[in-house]
Amino acid sequence: MRGVISAAGYVPYRRLDRSEIAAFFGSGGGTGTRAVASYDEDTTTMGQTAADAALRTTPVEPEALWFATSAPAYLEKTNAAAIHAALRLDPAVNALDFGGAIRSGIGALGAALAGSGPILTVAADSRDGLPTGADEASAGDGAAAVLVGDDSDGPVLAEHLGGASRTLEITERWRTPGGSRSRTWEDRLGANVLGPAAEDAWRSALANSGLDGTGVDHLAVTGLNSRAVASALKVIGAEAGSLVESLTDSVGNTATAHPLLLLCAALEQANPGETIAVVVLADGVEVLALQATEALADHRPAAPLAAQIAAGGPVSYGRFLAWRRMVDVEPPNRPSPNRPSSSAAQRRTDWKYGFAGSRDRSSGMVHLPPARVSERGGAVDDTDPAPMAHVTGTVASFTVDRLAYSPSPPTVFAIVDFDGGGRAPLELTDVEADEVHAGMRVVPTFRRLYTADEIHNYFWKARPVRTEPVAPAAP
């Protein structure tokens, strides 16, 4: 049996109230909210957060990490390698990017299900569109990760039953590299072409999944052409009660990540034995069919989607536009930071990406960053790694710096004392300056501090604990 061993979605903390768009421009926007990646998040960091949550609930280690996004932080350089490093995966784990197309998210998942060995598929998107446009309002930012494997690897939560694929060459939605907006053809073209293709693919998928005539308990249909999605729903003949909520009103459409995000949502709702189908309309059609197993009953997501959606905090439209570089705001009159040294960073990958310090064997003292000579006792080169990414900490002291360079001032900064030992001065994120207090509980989060000379400087910050943490799986 091959299928889903673990799955987790990530919805960034910030929410834009879509009504703010029309209030500002007089047009555009809509109702509900969209999820917004913070200024220090990109598809790599969001993907890492989802991937980490997926791996936390299973002892199964992936043999490959496949990362799909339409908004890669880098071209040429493999973005999955940064996720790999931040997850502290073994170098033998093959990290690859599936680049560019929105179809690549579901495509990577389909390929993983058709492949062998445990494969962690990660999809993330950060969606831009010009102000007042449909993409700006309907899109959302987020990520999802699905660990696929065989039951010989570990308990399978949902068995892969089958699926179908239809590929169409159609210039219905497009963007050239470097462009800040997507363009679309009149949406009726997509509806006209993708609707029949969906019907065709759906029939095939039902047949090869053994689901003919039985119906599907949880059906997710997604695509960026909403007219085509409506058309597909019609030809599929979906029952209203079986539809997985599209997250349009709360998160927005996360494009490459959305099929995986909806699969996570379906898995959080499904009972053992129930069937799940995901239909994706993007340059054709992809259909995946799965069936929840008994193991799903024991599965507890590390951060349930509903809890993440409920925990969001607002971002103003002005700040959203500044974060997305739709408007350039005056930065603090301070020198912008220098690019990090690639050689220095490479020597300390396990600190910079893995957030692993050192624990002195003789004194037990945790050093952040790792130190060869112990502060306590002076022992030399007698340490074990001290991975801190999953360790909760407490704000010992904090300050708000309105003078320091930041892509989004002011900088909120805390001295964080970690449970079980270790202190690190860390920037806080996903937080309002006036809600920080000594004693606040925080967890590390992988972020992009700034970009200099087109090098993204990734490191860890801390964010408030807003949803109850789940104990990691036993090794």
Binding site: N333, R334, P335, P337, N338, R339, P340, S341, S343, A344, A345, R347, R348, W351, K352, M365, H367, L368, P369, E375, A396, S397, F398, T399, V400, D401, R402, L403, A404, Y405, S406, T411, F413, I415, D417, G421, G422, R423, A424, P425, L426, E427, A438, L449, N457, Y458, F459
Partner: protein
Amino acid sequence: MSSRGICDQVAIIGMGCTPFAEHWDLSLDDLIIDAARAAYRSAGIAQDDIDAFWFGTSQSAASGLALAGPLKIHGRPVTRVENYCATGSEALRQACYAVASGAYDTAMALGAEKVKDGGYQGLNAFPIPTDGTQRTLTAAAMFSLMLPAYADRYGVDPGELRYAAARIASKNHHNGARNPRAQFRREMTAERICEMPAVAGQLSVFDCAGVADGAAAAIVCRAEDAHRWCPNPLYVKGLSVVTGTGAGSLDPGYDYTTMPECAQAAAEAYAQAGVTEPRSQLALAEVHDCFTPTELVLMEDLGLSPRGTAWRDVLGGVFDLDGELPVNTDGGLKSFGHPVGASGLRMLYEVWLQLRGDAPAERRIPETGRTLGLTHNLGGYPGEIVSFVGVFGTEPTRS
């Protein structure tokens, strides 16, 4: 630690100090030349009679060439030193030890910094390639951590403590207003400072040192030769530097209410100088008031106030110009700004003026019969500090 010190072996025989200001019309070379020539005049010494030179600058130049070139020092050892914001004091320490060792008869320490050519307000770190994980907070934010920590530890009302911090700035502005070399010469009430918007933690810009260009220099010789040059020299009683390991940023036991390196440096310098009751033995103290919480905590680290009571002493005027122990009588970093390499020697310049009775009447300290003055100069941030303490006196032997 075994440190014998060099008490009474070395004397300061001449000093010079430029005005500290935004010297748009003066280069680093100009500042160096002006400070050096003032020091030569003060000691009545010719440059050729100085055997060795130490040049303190944090980021305005590199190597001794930057001093030898503008001054045209031929055939002499000229060394650049750097130790964060304690750079100027470190230059002095090297010059004193060189003379005490017997290697040289005379030496000069000169500190200078040209800050205002950078194009930004504030001090800016120069780029050393790193892995990009170092924090990028301002110094103001790092020192702002001390006020809430202090209020919490000693149960002081945060508003009252904030007022005490503002009163430190107000005192230093009062003193600086009486000093023609100071950058800021305007008095400022604590109430007004409290009303200003916060820029880092509770601190307003008026809780922060200014930013200025400047230079200062001291000429030293063996104590027994001092009267050849100067009828009333200052004698070096104690010099200490303690450099932390950055433990405060690692160790949850550190609580941001003290700077242990400063306390250790003070204990060391006091021991060398034979000071046992600094509050009653010192005539004045020039301390590193880069931010108001720094001076507050220093009063305790330097043993001038018992722990948890400095805020009360500040409010009670103990450290005012006419108080029990005047602190930063020249106006401090608050009024002078902080040209990094120069500040430590600028502090010593005020001790030089006050102890020898050369300070102008409007800021002269009360006559107490005390003969010792202290300079304290630090670099870094709470948790990771390099601290200098110097004790100087007018008497040629320990009293």
